[in-house]
């Protein structure tokens, strides 16, 4: 199941193959100086060299067509997987139990326990987008944004407060899509303000100051009774958030588990779409749009400067880039997308609380899934958060899950087997049920130690091996 999404980056494109050098340096091998040279200064040269026949326009055209086709094939596979996922779950969990003589086999219950339920898939989308935005700044420029939750929170609070008419100038009833953009814009501006003083610092100090700003905002929001009657709990939203084209009812879909639109017998095909499914697809579309936007930026000349900054900021500056403004712009954009993620989170939940949006642990979640998925790969965080939410689902008893599954399928004698006063059932209840954070922490530490490039980064390293091997030879050529 995880194979098809992870294969995608292989065909991602060829600019990123060069990014692999960066991933390697992050894992300990010092990046050679000439790497950046090729990235910044001789980028075009390298591309020409890599194309077999640099002279022919046709050849180059074919080259890019091939690239794009592969690119899109990979994207289609991933998008297709996520689009068909709800159907897949419905089919697999619907498999009836089979009596095979001595025991009953219940694959339906098994899949129910192990496949993430739709609510978790929706959470995966917010978290995935938020983590992508975190990776956008942290993974591509190398500046760890430890206060990223602030932007997520701004997105969330702006849409909720706007819906309640609590934001001056913005009239009550302004469509969700517009308030979402407003929140993203506010986050963009706040990021510029924070960045203006923070980008004079690097490394640990940058991480600390962004964390400091975010904590200040968190404490302000948590204690400010204007945002909600009980600011510790946060505000709730009146009305439903609608994703779609503003002011066009037929193209707007309300999201939310309860408040969302549901459709029966769609197009007479006998398919019912629940509110959860509507939300999944509507939010999924926005995430997809944001993903492509970020992907375009990263693969543009601007994105290449971001990577150059990560690899060697001094050199990027020496080559003539105004790195300060590149960092500012990248930070602002990443805040913009973080706020969109936060806005959809709040829109779907119909509320926002300081601890679920502005708190440091929210940034930490993004950090974890980014590492697991692969830092410095844009799609990686999405797969990381798929992994994260799967684990959450398996280990929680909310919607299927391992604990109830074990409780139901294991024989009673085994469950009540008593060792030193502790039954197996106790063990399940204590170390399985709702213990996702523990296992996530363990998985995270194992990734940091043994898979520092994450799921996607490692797959890319393996498949891109040939490119990586040819890279030193290329660099050697430019040195002379």
């Amino acid at each position: 199941m995880a194979i098809s999404p992870t294969r995608r980056p292989d065909g991602d494109d060829d600019t990123d193959a060069r990014g692999d050098g960066g991933t390697e340096s992050a894992s300990g091998q010092p990046a050679t100086d000439s790497l950046e040279e090729s990235q910044v200064a001789t980028d075009t040269t390298e591309r020409t060299t890599m194309t077999e026949e640099p002279g022919g326009d046709d050849a180059e055209g074919a080259h890019w067509t091939v690239q794009y086709a592969r690119d899109h094939l990979a994207h289609v596979l991933v998008i297709g997987f996520f689009a068909l996922y709800p159907g897949l779950v419905a089919v697999l969990t619907g498999i009836p139990a089979l009596d095979i003589g001595f025991t009953t086999v219940d694959p339906g219950a098994f899949f129910d326990a192990f496949l993430p339920a739709m609510t978790f898939m929706i959470a995966m989308l917010f978290l995935g987008l938020f983590a992508m935005s975190f990776d956008f700044i942290s993974g591509y420029t190398g500046y760890l944004s430890f206060g990223h939750a602030a932007f997520y929170g701004i997105g969330a609070y702006v849409v909720v407060m706007a819906a309640n008419g609590d934001i001056p100038i913005v009239p009550e009833g302004t469509p969700f899509m517009l308030t979402l953009l407003l929140g993203a814009t506010v986050a963009f501006l706040v990021a510029l303000a924070i960045g203006a003083v923070s980008f004079r610092l690097t490394g640990v100090y940058f991480a600390m100051i962004t964390l400091g700003f975010a904590q200040v905002i968190y404490e302000l929001v948590r204690n400010w009774d204007y945002v909600a009657t009980n600011p510790q709990e946060g505000p709730s939203m009146s009305g439903a958030a609608e994703i779609g084209i503003p002011y066009v009812d037929s193209l707007s879909f309300a999201i939310g588990r309860l408040a969302g639109d549901s459709f029966e017998n769609v197009l007479g095909l006998g398919i019912d779409i629940s509110a959860t499914l509507t939300s999944y697809y509507a939010i999924g579309l926005v995430v997809l749009g944001c993903y492509f936007a970020m992907q375009r930026i990263i693969h543009s000349p601007f994105g290449r400067v971001m990577i150059a900054i990560r690899e060697n900021e001094e050199r990027a500056r020496a080559v003539g880039y105004n790195v300060f403004w590149y960092k500012m712009a990248a930070f602002g954009m990443s805040a913009f997308f973080a706020a969109i993620a936060g806005a959809m989170f709040a829109g779907y939940r119909g509320s926002a609380s300081p601890d679920s949006t502005f708190y440091f642990l929210v940034t930490a979640d993004a950090l974890i899934v980014t590492i697991v998925g692969g830092i410095g790969t844009l799609a990686g965080p999405l797969f990381g958060s798929f992994f994260f939410e799967s684990l959450e689902d398996i280990l929680s008893s909310q919607q299927g899950g391992l604990a109830p599954y074990l409780r139901e399928t294991l024989p009673e004698a085994m469950l009540s087997a008593d060792v030193a006063g502790i039954t197996f059932l106790d063990v399940i209840n204590t170390v399985v049920d709702g213990r996702a954070p523990l296992y996530l922490g363990i998985v995270f530490v194992l990734f940091v130690l043994f898979v520092p490039n994450g799921l996607l980064g490692s797959v890319r390293d393996r498949l891109g091996g040939t490119v990586a091997k040819r890279l030193p030879a290329h660099l050697e050529r430019y040195r002379k």
Binding site: Q29, P30, A31, T32, P472, L475
Partner: protein, 232 residues
């Protein structure tokens, strides 16, 4: 048996191949100068000896024992001192403390330290002073003292004259000359006449390998084989 032997040493920084088959020997009591342009691998040779940058292949033998793969602190404990480029004082430690770090825990501190103070009277005067408050020349003296304290047998000296006024350089040279009567020395020095003056033998290095070697006696900068590698 030579005191120090390097045989076909290859050392990398990341992917950059710096030492490309370095061979050299140092006999007990000698002063050997490593000369060559910037970036040809002189400092890396010293770092390879100390295993600070471990060679990928080849061997470094000290008194016949192979050092490759040993941790740096064990290499240093065998009696190899290092006076690095830029001196690298512990700026917030006093002169005494700087020396103390270099003395083995099982050695007697006082006599060893006093020996250094006899050799460098300036340091004795500033023994309680933090090293960052010393002048450049005094810091260089301290670096040399720190390199030999505890009866090191081999001293690796990297660019001792760099960044110092001519008058101070003379003092440093005198100090090194005095040290060299008791200690074997490998000297990396950009200042060619100075290197020839101090050393008994020289190795001329280019592209991470020895291209010329021989006694320093009578060698001048005009020498054609030297010119070819040293001129910019």
């Amino acid at each position: 048996m030579s005191l120090l032997e390097l045989e076909d040493v290859h050392t990398y920084y990341g992917e950059s191949h710096i030492l490309q088959g370095m061979n050299l020997t140092v006999e007990e009591g000698e002063v050997v100068a490593l000369i060559g342009r910037n970036g040809v691998g002189k400092t890396t040779t010293l770092r390879s000896i100390l295993q600070l940058t471990a060679p990928r292949s080849g061997s470094v033998r000290f008194r016949g024992e192979d050092l490759t793969g040993n941790p740096t602190h064990e290499v240093a404990d065998r009696g190899i001192g290092w006076v690095p480029e830029d001196r690298r004082m512990f700026g917030y430690l006093t002169v005494e403390e700087n020396l103390r770090v270099a003395i083995d825990p099982d050695q007697e501190v006082e006599p060893l330290r006093d020996e250094m103070f006899d050799l460098f009277p300036d340091l004795a005067r500033f023994r309680e002073k933090e090293a960052r408050n010393l002048s450049g020349g005094q810091q260089q003296m301290l670096a040399i003292a720190r390199g030999i304290v505890g009866d090191n047998e081999l001293l690796l000296v990297d660019e001792p004259s760099e960044g110092l006024a001519p008058l101070i350089v003379e003092q440093v040279v005198e100090a090194l000359r005095e040290v060299s009567t008791e200690t074997t020395m490998v000297l990396v020095e950009q200042n060619f006449p100075l290197a020839m003056d101090l050393a008994d033998r020289f190795y001329l290095i280019d592209h991470g390998t020895v291209v010329e070697s021989g006694p320093t006696e009578g060698v001048t900068a005009d020498d054609e084989r030297i010119q070819r590698y040293l001129a910019a």
